[in-house]
Amino acid sequence: MTQIEIICGFLESGKTTLIQNILEQEYMQQYRRIVIIQCEEGLTEFRAASMASKDVVLAQIEHPEKIRKGLFTKMKEELDPDLILIEYNGTWPIEQLLRVRLPSDYRIDRILFCAEASTFPMYIKNTGNMMLNQLGNADAVFLNRCSADTDTLKATVRSCNRTAKICFTDESVEHCTASILKPEEIQRAAGTLKRNRIGIARGLITLYLISIHFFLNAPPIVKSINMSFIGILMQAVPFLLIGALVSGLLQVFVSDETLVRMYTGHKWLGYPLAAVSGLFFPICDCGIIPITSRLTQKGVPLSKAMVFMLAAPSVNPVTIISTLYAFPGQPQYALYRVLLGSVIALLAGFILNVSHIRSEDVFLTFSAACSCSAVTANVQGSGKAAKFESVILIAGQEFFSMGKYIVIGAFVCSVLQQTIPVSSFRSTGSRIILPLILMLLAAFFMSVCSTSNAFIGRSFLNIFPITAVMGFIVMGPMLDLSNLLMLSSNFKKIFIVRLACTLLTIAFPVFLLFSVFSAGGKL
């Protein structure tokens, strides 16, 4: 068994120092023969006390084309090392190396990515795909000479690579390399891995058998839950896909500057514009969230992006039509919906603007490079076909990241709907506050799409007053479980909680006013 470790990163990122440190470790004595392949110009001599006693072979490669099957087979024949350390050139695509068919007992173990903390954010912005490729494939990221603000760096790394271990200090780097290279540690890790795998496999098989049995002999309630679960999904997935497609189109075809200028051109005009622009995105609330995330990533101010996100489900043409259908002959409800939605969205945007939230507190991925550009990193060329493929790839990734939340949301919603009878709401009086709270709760947990919730809200009309139903219809798309879950993939939890509280505090007075208006204003 020959273990291959890849150390990548740009020039001056501390790769050579890392290898030097590794070689100095006590446990390196246990390796029979080590080959170090350097893919950089200029051979660096390694000097380590531990090296004298054993075989360390240095090799140099100057062209990425030389990394191919022959290199490793020849190495196996001539040197037969048990550890290969590759210092990989930062400008070479990592796929070149990953694609090589290795001799049967050769295995690429880990990819370690080195970077200097101070220059890392700049490199990430300017070098584009080259760095993203390596970073995205890394198992561990070592950020050297790190002074402060590790959170931002961490978030930047996380935006491209969600699973890598991140080390900031020399001790943690040492610990990490020991866990990778120290033979005892390797054996122990292999042991736990094996045990875990066996455990997981057993668990999955039992779960599978139970669920097969359970599915085929499902009691009626499970069938009902499944029916509405699939129903909600079938209804939501097309709209989610439209949203992902629009988001992909925005990402590929609309330049950052155009979009940002549209919203920031005028100090105050941006807000009504943000509220109205939902008209041009005929998709439901679950599709709006990826677009909002894209807008904020492109640099649209947070408060304006939020106005857009909150108002869009209410001013969206599909929603307006569905509201017209739900309240036949009573177009004023569609109008109320648009007005209430925009007013609440604008007020929320205003409060966000005044409260001066720092963007570090808002985004999980505070970085110019987002995870989506990592997806398209491999798309070659810039023609129409390449752009088309980029759009599809982005849409696909968006679909998969949002899809999880839709599945969870639809599941929770269908379970609640089928197990809690709506008639339990019936016993409440006709006052405004309690029905409003109940309807907001119902909206929150049912998470129905903005394009269809008018119909469901309408069916509550014989139990609750119109104000509570309007609360359900207007606030539902702004503040519901599946949306919050979806938001949490891009925004920090603390911000989401804040947003929810802001919305609630705005919504109550607005709807109380509305009830005064609708009940008393015209009397």
């Binding site: 990592i94 990953l98 068919r101 290795l102 001799p103 690429i108 494939n137 198992d139 699973t163 890598a164 669920s211 599915f215 499902a218 009626p220 499970v222 069938k223 499944n226 029916m227 509405s228 679960f229 699939i230 129903g231 909600i232 079938m234 209804q235 997935v237 097309p238 709209f239 896909l241 439209i242 497609l245 739900a326 036949p328 002959g329 009573q330 798309v379 599809i392 696909g396 998969f400 899809g403 999880k404 599945v407 269908s414 709907q417 089928q418 809690i420 009878p421 709506v422 008639s423 269809s452 119909f455 469901i456 309408r458 069916s459 009309l461 014989n462 139990i463 007053p465 119109i466 609708s518």
Partner: protein, 272 residues
């Protein structure tokens, strides 16, 4: 020396294909109408097609190896595919969805809330301007698909007419007052019903299976207790307009009950 690729993307492409096939299968087999309103079929076709395209493109790029791929990242999306294929389709007919027996009665509760809406009372029928947007049949204009009297003076509501008739009777109750109606539905009862009361209900879908609600006219019959919940019946009776638990609504005084076949279509669909 095994072939290398990006297991993450391969898995995602597989999920796309599976979802696409499930969508297309339900659409072709006609099962989709158990899950969603027919007006959304176009969207579902789009979803099936687009997911297929995503699958193809994703598969193309999955040949580029990725070192730390986590194929199980998207496993949650397999769940709907599994449940859709494995759990047999059943009817969502739990008593939990008793939103009330009259979905069309929105105006009655409105009138008690605000006098403003009472002005709209006469103009509730969605007119031709809105019915153009429908993909389905134009049920909106009441004259087109509403049952009429036959020579015996009986208004028979067929399976296809149920939805439009139901909207019609709630909007123009007076039109049906004193008439004899023959309608088909499943016996539905709520806990608040008296012993002689039941509704021959059809389950109506407004958007998807999650919002199914029983619809029908309240019936009074001394023989009501003979019939089980969920049983299919032809019910004939005379319509009177009554105030029932604060709602003005049509009530049918039953003259004849016959057992009946299940309706061809599981649900009825409101098109606005």
């Amino acid at each position: 020396m095994k072939r290398k690729g990006n297991s993450e993307l391969i898995f995602q492409a597989l999920i796309c294909f599976m979802l696409s096939v499930v969508f297309a299968y339900t659409l072709i087999s006609g099962k989709a109408s158990n899950y969603i309103h027919p007006r959304l079929f176009g969207f579902l076709w789009f979803a099936a097609g687009f997911l297929f395209v995503i699958g193809v493109v994703t598969l193309r790029y999955s040949s580029i190896p990725k070192h730390n791929a986590k194929p199980l990242k998207s496993i949650l999306l397999v769940i709907p595919v599994l449940t859709a294929l494995l759990i047999p389709t059943g009817a969502v007919q739990s008593q939990a969805i008793s939103f009330g027996i009259s979905t069309g009665n929105t105006r009655d509760s409105l009138t008690s809330q605000s006098s403003a809406s009472s002005q709209d009372k006469g103009t509730v029928i969605p007119d031709t301007a809105t019915s153009k947007d429908d993909i389905g049949i134009e049920v909106s204009s009441p004259s087109s698909n509403v049952p009429g009297e036959d020579e015996n003076g009986v208004i028979t509501v067929t399976d296809e007419q149920f939805a439009s008739w139901y909207q019609d009777i709630n909007e123009n109750m007076k039109k049906y007052e004193g008439k004899t109606l023959k309608m088909k539905g499943q016996v539905f009862r709520m806990s608040t019903f008296g012993a002689s009361e039941f509704v021959p209900a059809r389950y109506a879908m407004v958007c998807c299976a999650a919002d199914l609600q029983p619809c029908g006219v309240l019936c009074r019959s001394s023989a009501a207790s003979q019939y089980q919940d969920g049983e299919w019946l032809w019910v004939t009776g005379e319509i009177k307009i009554e105030n029932y638990q604060g709602q003005t609504m049509p009530v049918c005084y039953v003259t004849k009950i016959e057992k009946s076949e299940k309706a061809k279509q599981e649900y009825i669909y409101f098109t606005y």
